[in-house]
């Protein structure tokens, strides 16, 4: 499969990753709404996998130049924080299942699109480091997208949206992932010197998103110990799979 044109590999796997969100609607085929505790688990699962992906990107990037990776990470952290502030989505709760106001609706979709944009940078940068590594990161983010979409679908179906529409919107919110993956890959292809910066940027942004959105959210939805356990196991699985593949 990796005999394909490299850009096509990026397109294919970032699209798979974006489309994986459709499975996030799965639980709603069987029940109308999930208990808030389970939404917390989904958030913690997504957080742990994202932290694992950040670790993998960081360790992959450091040999290329620790200074550039760290500088890129600071940029990524700053940019992720800025995008939250600028879009008015910092301090946004992702569990207001009863809030059906129009503002909350677009904010939730915006936050999800922002997340997938930064995940797209991660996929593109990882692909530029090496295609097998990129495929690994894309698949890790694909699985991460499932619990993330479950949280989104919980909010959307709470707004009386049909399951099919909720699943469709969850995938649509990930389109930025495909675009940014190809964009990042093309940039690094044109200027290979920016690769450690791009890997650092993705690392920093993912860590910031975990710390600003996913974790604080989940602590309100389930017990601290449960959240910590779910997140650390998810993180461990990503790290283990990476070393098993490498």
């Amino acid at each position: 499969m990796l005999d394909l044109e490299p850009t096509l590999v990026v397109l294919l796997f970032s699209a798979i990753s974006a489309a994986a969100a459709v499975f996030g609607a799965g639980p709603f085929l069987f029940r109308r709404q999930l208990p808030i505790v389970q939404i917390g688990w989904a958030n913690a699962l997504a957080a742990g996998m994202m932290l694992g992906a950040a670790y993998v990107l960081l360790i992959g990037g450091l040999p290329l130049g620790a200074g550039a990776v760290a500088a890129g990470a600071v940029l990524g952290i700053g940019f992720a924080a800025w995008s939250h502030t600028a879009s008015g989505t910092d301090d946004l709760d992702l569990n207001r299942l009863e809030d059906t106001g129009p503002t909350y609706g677009y904010q939730v979709l915006l936050v999800n699109s922002l997340h997938s944009a930064f995940e797209g940078v991660a996929i593109g940068a990882a692909m530029a480091l090496s295609l097998p590594f990129g495929v690994f990161v894309a698949l890790a983010i694909a699985i991460h997208n499932i619990p993330e979409a479950t949280v989104l679908c919980a909010i959307l179906t709470g707004r009386r949206l049909a399951i099919s529409s909720a699943a469709g919107l969850a995938v649509a919110a990930n389109v930025s992932q495909v675009m940014l993956a190809i964009f990042t890959f093309a940039i690094v292809d044109a200027a290979p010197g920016v690769l450690p910066w791009a890997l650092g940027f993705a690392t920093g942004a993912l860590i910031q998103l975990v710390m600003a959105d996913l974790l604080p959210e989940s602590y309100h939805q389930a017990g601290h110990r449960t959240i910590a356990l779910v997140a650390i196991v998810a993180m461990g699985i990503v790290v283990l799979l990476r070393t098993a593949v490498a």
Partner: protein, 243 residues
């Protein structure tokens, strides 16, 4: 020329004393508002997460499964310790209740983590490393942020700077103690090293996720806490890369 075992021990002791330096920045902290506690937790969390990234990277080079198995044991160890501390009235100096429990926990976690680091020091000496002084210096400097992490938790809860430095040094004492046997029996300890590194990483990450971060989020705004954790994490990783 002194005996090599004594040399390893003395070098290890120097690295332990360096941990005390981590308490110094807090000498200038006067007021302790909830925001300060949140920041201190966030910084300690970032330092410990960054340190764990380094430990896992080193451990997986010896063996990925062993590192992860060690991490699992580390998590179980924290849960066990919490159960033990939760059952009884814990006092840490004049402090009681959940604050005292957390203070005791960070000292225990960081001390346990020094056991693994001590083994790493001993193994690297025994591995025929000629740059012993450089390694010692590196580990000594590397210990300073660990003292910072301990002080960040103890100081806002009313422990004096001198005592913070004392607890920081205490937490690093296992380093010289473990370095010596690891140096003498490199082959045996090398096998145990990934488990130890994983154990330390698992214990630290779990403590950050379960104790430090939720408390920080309760006392300050999310974006601020997130920025502090993320930036400290990156700084710690960079710091370890160059030392």
């Amino acid at each position: 020329m002194t005996h090599p075992v004594l040399t390893v021990f003395l070098y290890g002791l120097v690295t332990a004393l360096a941990t005390g330096l981590g308490a110094l920045p807090f000498a200038f902290l006067r007021t302790v508002s909830p925001r300060v506690v949140a920041s201190a937790n966030a910084i300690a969390g970032g330092l410990m997460l960054g340190a764990s990234f380094g430990l896992v990277a080193e451990g997986t080079e010896y063996g990925a499964w062993q590192t992860l198995a060690g991490a699992l044991l580390g998590v179980l160890f924290i849960i066990g310790t919490q159960r033990l501390l939760g059952d009884r009235e814990v006092a840490f100096g004049d402090v009681r209740g959940s604050d005292a429990r957390q203070m005791a926990l960070i000292v225990i976690v960081m001390t346990i983590h020094s056991f693994a680091e001590g083994v790493a020091v001993g193994v690297s000496f025994g591995g025929g490393a000629t740059l012993a002084l450089v390694i010692t210096l590196a580990i000594a400097v590397h210990n300073i942020p660990e003292g910072l992490a301990i002080t960040a938790v103890l100081r806002p809860r009313g422990v004096s700077v001198a005592k913070c430095a004392g607890w920081s040094i205490f937490s690093s004492l296992p380093q010289p103690l473990m370095a010596v046997p690891a140096f003498l029996f490199v082959e045996t300890f090398q096998k145990a090293l990934p488990y130890g590194l994983g154990f330390a990483a698992g214990a630290m990450v779990f403590m950050v996720l379960e104790e430090l971060l939720p408390e920080a989020y309760d006392r300050a705004r999310r974006p601020v806490v997130a920025l502090q954790v993320s930036l400290t994490l990156v700084a710690m990783v960079l710091f370890q890369q160059y030392l």
